[in-house]
């Protein structure tokens, strides 16, 4: 039981997931404002949304 708990803790570590969400937000913002490809602009909002929701959730994970 405790082994399972520690495994979960290791997987859901705040720093890793929070950083991943931050990267997603920044990539999304780049996609929104870049002048290169229309498809990137089209999918930018969904990337930002996932990153933002991810950030809100993962910032509540234990350190």
């Amino acid at each position: 039981m405790s082994e399972k708990k520690s495994l979960l803790r290791r997987i859901f570590r705040r720093s890793i997931w929070e950083n991943a969400s931050t990267v997603l937000i920044l990539v999304g913002v780049f996609m929104l404002m870049q002048p290169f490809a229309m498809w990137m602009y089209t999918y930018s909002f969904i990337v930002i949304l996932i990153g933002t929701i991810g950030f809100v959730i993962t910032s509540h994970f234990p350190d």
Binding site: M33, Y43, F45, G51
Partner: protein, 300 residues
């Protein structure tokens, strides 16, 4: 005073705390949260604010698909990107440079700091109006100064579609570089002197001291200022609306100005709500990154 104390008698500390917080909470809910939820709801409809009797239909994600598939909006995002990127780069360089200069002790330092900070204290609408006069091709001071160095003839910053995007960059830089400078100055003043003394003992040159002590210490502060300015400039409206109103053509039509046009000139309320939600989520995401950086600085 006594009667207030009597009234509160018998109430727990928690209840008193709630009584004090309640007005703020109610205001926040009424002014911020309710309109936000209402706007999100509107973004899924075909509502037109000028057609009151018209049936409002639920259109699902149609408004979002329209915005994210429109090249015209993509262009507005690029115009916003041009504005945000250039203002950030220029403000970072000049702001850091000014902070380094003002960190030195010299006569009139405090007066100079106050003078540099002045533009930041003005209202953006006022700044917009007087820069319109400064940019005036016939009587504007800007035109005169440029022609003093090189004879361009009539130099119309706001009237030319290639120069107009730069005109808003210049004004924003003029107004907000002092903010970047102040934050950097705070960072510079927090560097302990013994680090420089130790570096001098180790015979580090001024350049090495700057690269290995000053820059790493001031960088988080600079990043914080730039993130804040990035968020502010992404939703920039008043200054540009007053200065160019998005013109000539749509050369300076930032996302927020386009949003205002869709909402209050074409009255596409549902569509513009969806656009506002997209901008909101982007700024909210940016805001999270901002808070994260700020916490990191606090932990240092």
């Amino acid at each position: 005073m006594k009667s207030v104390a009597k009234k509160f008698k018998g109430l727990s500390d928690k209840a008193i705390a709630w009584i004090f917080i309640a007005p703020t909470l109610i205001l926040l809910l009424a002014i911020n949260i309710y309109p936000l939820i209402y706007a999100i709801r509107m973004s899924f409809t075909n509502f037109y604010a000028n057609k009151i009797g018209r049936e409002v239909k639920f259109v699902g994600l149609k408004n979002y698909k329209k915005i994210l598939g429109k090249e015209e909006i993509w262009e507005k995002m690029q115009i916003t990107a041009h504005f945000v990127c250039w203002t950030l780069v220029i403000q970072a360089l000049i702001g850091l440079g000014l902070a380094l200069l003002l960190n030195k002790k010299f006569k009139g330092n405090e007066l100079l700091t106050t003078l540099i900070v002045l533009p930041m204290m003005l209202s953006p609408a006022v700044v917009g109006v007087f820069w319109t006069y400064l940019y005036n091709p016939q009587v504007g001071l800007f035109n005169y100064v440029v022609n003093f160095f090189y004879d361009f003839g009539i130099f119309d910053m706001i009237g030319s579609s290639t120069l107009a995007p730069w005109s808003i960059v210049i004004v924003d830089t003029w107004m907000w570089t002092p903010f970047t400078m102040l934050i950097c100055l705070a960072g510079l003043r927090s560097i302990p002197n013994y680090l420089y003394e130790a570096a001098e003992v180790d015979r580090a040159s001024k350049w090495q001291q700057f690269i290995h002590i000053t820059l790493p210490s001031v960088l988080p502060f600079l990043l914080l200022a730039l993130l804040f300015r990035g968020i502010e400039n992404f939703k920039m409206f008043d200054l540009v609306a007053e200065l160019t109103s998005g013109g000539p053509g749509s050369a300076t039509e930032l996302a927020s100005i386009n949003l205002k046009r869709e909402a209050f000139e074409k009255w596409k309320t549902g569509y513009s709500s969806a656009f506002a939600v997209i901008l909101f989520v982007t700024i909210f995401g940016f805001g999270n990154v901002y808070v994260k950086v700020m916490n990191k600085i606090k932990d240092r």
